[in-house]
């Protein structure tokens, strides 16, 4: 399964309680749509760390990195390229 699908499925199952992939676009803001809150974002970070074997640093926990599937994918790519 590709990464964006993995992330989307996690969000659908845990925050939107849906199996309908069409109900979440890659660009949709997870905060503005009410999908994640203060505790939801922690669950999302744990999922990202476990699934993609990275460590999300405190200063990386910002909307620019985590507020949509697309942003999470871009963040993962950036993180990997910076780690060489």
């Amino acid at each position: 399964m590709d990464e964006s699908r993995q992330i989307r499925n996690f969000i659908l199952k845990n925050f939107l309680f849906s199996e309908d992939e069409g109900s979440l676009s890659d660009e949709e803001s997870l905060i503005a749509s009410g999908a994640i809150d203060s505790t939801g974002v922690l669950e999302l970070i744990m999922f990202i760390e476990e699934t993609f074997q990275i460590k999300v640093a405190d200063e990386e926990m910002i909307p620019e990195n985590l507020d949509s599937v697309q942003k999470i994918i871009a963040y993962l790519h950036g993180k990997r390229s910076s780690q060489g």
């Binding site: 309680f17 009410g34 203060s38 505790t39 909307p63 985590l66």
Partner: protein, 514 residues
């Protein structure tokens, strides 16, 4: 303060037009610009036939437009009704039917607007903030406020009197919503008291994460605009790191929160790595904060003074405050009455039951609401001879400091949000195959409480948990969705047949811990 709030903002617009009033991200409004847009909004309203006493429903997250809509409504002689922007159509509809607004201001992309409008017998005139495909007809906010106003110089602001200025709904879907109705005098007098003890001036600025549609967030906004200060908007605490960076970057002097705000800051951000030396004051309300958390906060931000406060929407916002220097000797106290307010403890018909006697907290002052909107029966239950019955239990010690001893209602507090169990239970009960449901608040390390639902399935047997949660998501604001669901055979009842929430709360804690 002898001025209404819009009159104060008006004076800042003429005395210090270049001073910044509101900052959000890269956008800033000076007082001069803010006032021009407020007047343009008021003129547009009046042009639509909006009359004195008409209501404008404002369904917006914190943004400059929410401020302009509120003050513009006041300048048109109307009543501003800020509504929870996270609410779904089933929650918004009863509020709208109850206050019957002439105008509704909402954000583009709010997918709940279409079903909401279809459910209303009378459609208000719509005004849309942001870019919106022309799906729903309505004027555009940016076009309305861009129009050149003729009367900026000459228009006079509402007087400081008992004219209704704002309705804040404190509960929703139970058929008869409670709309706390506040006058210009209520709002201005409560702001003046807070300004006095926080010693706010035009040099002050604050990062605000608390929604304007709640009394606390509204008070943070009112107090800072009243002195000509600056309000820096951050939408929420989902990313505490971003909030801390804003505090550091903007060099603000204040920050306000509920216990979960500070729990999130302390648990998720290493504050010592940021220069937060500009912070002069922190305010905390929205329920008691654990002593350990208070001590950690004080040690993490030594330059700031922490003001613990208590109040309720029916009292505009604030009733008591604890002077920072008393935190040591009176820790755990909600403080003493704010300027202009009296509090007393009553037990049954007995008034002023003496030091440390436990009873119900009553309050009197210019901040006490006019009443619940169009609901005399409920108003008379809480207002008596100018006194407000708060519903909170407490005692006042020999030095005059209030200690709260719990609430008489079952309200659940999730972060800065207050939830009436009935609202969630009604939504869940609509799902097919459920015989009975009860929800309680259970402790949560970060949010204070989260919602747990106990569900008794109907005769058909099993109920799909995911489907129940999806149903909740469709009909309830996100913070009301249960974090935990437990299916049970029966609910504990009292002798009179009511659900025994106390027993359920104990059961909830025991089971989640095991």
């Amino acid at each position: 303060m002898a001025r209404s709030l819009p009159d104060s903002v008006r004076s800042h617009a003429f005395d210090a037009p270049e001073n910044i009033a509101i900052t959000m991200g890269s956008r800033s409004h000076t007082y001069g610009q803010l006032w021009r847009e407020i007047i343009a909004f008021a003129e547009w309203l009046k042009g639509t036939g909006f009359k004195a006493g008409d209501r404008a429903a404002i369904v917006l997250a914190n943004c400059p437009e929410a401020v302009i809509a509120c003050y513009g409504t006041w300048m048109a002689g109307g009543i501003a009704v800020p509504m929870n922007s996270q609410a779904k159509s089933r929650e918004l509809a009863p509020w709208l039917r109850h206050c019957d607004p002439a105008v509704l201001i909402h954000e583009s992309g709010n997918t709940d607007m279409e079903p909401l409008l279809e459910s209303l017998a009378t459609r208000p005139r719509l005004l849309v903030v942001g870019e919106e495909p022309k799906r729903i007809p309505g004027a555009r906010f940016n076009e309305v406020v861009a129009s050149r106003s003729l009367s900026v110089e000459t228009v006079s602001a509402p007087r400081l009197d008992d004219t209704p200025a704002m309705i804040l709904f404190t509960s929703g879907t139970t058929g008869s919503p409670k709309g706390v109705t506040l006058s210009h005098r209520n709002i201005a007098s409560n702001a003046a008291a807070v300004i006095e003890y926080l010693e706010l001036t035009a040099a002050d600025s604050i990062v605000s994460v608390l929604p304007f549609y709640y009394a606390y967030g509204n008070s943070v906004l009112s107090t800072h605009l009243a002195v000509g200060g600056r309000v820096v908007l951050e939408l929420n605490m989902v990313f505490p790191h971003a909030v801390v960076e804003t505090i550091a970057r903007e060099r603000v002097s204040g920050f306000s929160g509920v216990p979960s705000t500070f729990a999130l800051l302390l648990s998720r951000v290493d504050l010592s790595r940021h220069d937060l030396g500009s912070l002069r004051y922190l305010t905390q309300a929205g329920g008691p904060m654990a002593v350990a958390l208070t001590r950690r906060l004080l040690s993490a931000l030594p330059s700031a003074r922490l003001f613990v406060m208590y109040g309720q929407t029916e009292a505009t916002s604030r009733l008591t405050w604890l002077p920072p220097e008393m935190l040591g000797s009176k820790i755990g106290s909600a403080g003493k009455a704010i300027p202009g307010v009296e509090i007393e403890i009553r037990s049954g018909r007995q008034r002023s039951i003496g030091a440390d006697g436990i009873g119900e907290v009553w309050a009197r002052g210019e901040n006490v609401m006019l009443g619940y909107w169009r609901d005399e029966a409920r108003t008379s239950e809480v207002l008596s001879d100018g006194w407000l019955r708060t519903g909170d239990m407490g005692r006042i010690d020999a030095d005059g400091y209030l200690f709260l001893e719990g609430r008489r209602t079952d309200m659940i507090k999730v972060g800065a949000n207050r939830i009436y169990p009935n609202d969630v239970e009604e939504a869940i009960a609509e799902f097919p195959g459920i015989a009975e449901v009860a929800v309680v608040g259970i402790e949560d390390e970060l949010l204070g409480q989260v919602v747990k639902a106990f569900i008794v399935p109907g005769v058909a047997g099993s109920v799909d948990k995911m489907a129940v949660l999806a149903h909740c998501r469709a009909g309830l604001a996100p913070y009301k969705i249960p974090k935990h669901i437990e299916f049970v055979d029966a609910l504990p009842k009292t002798a009179s047949g009511k659900i025994n929430r106390g027993a359920l709360a104990v059961a909830a804690v025991t089971r989640e811990e095991s």
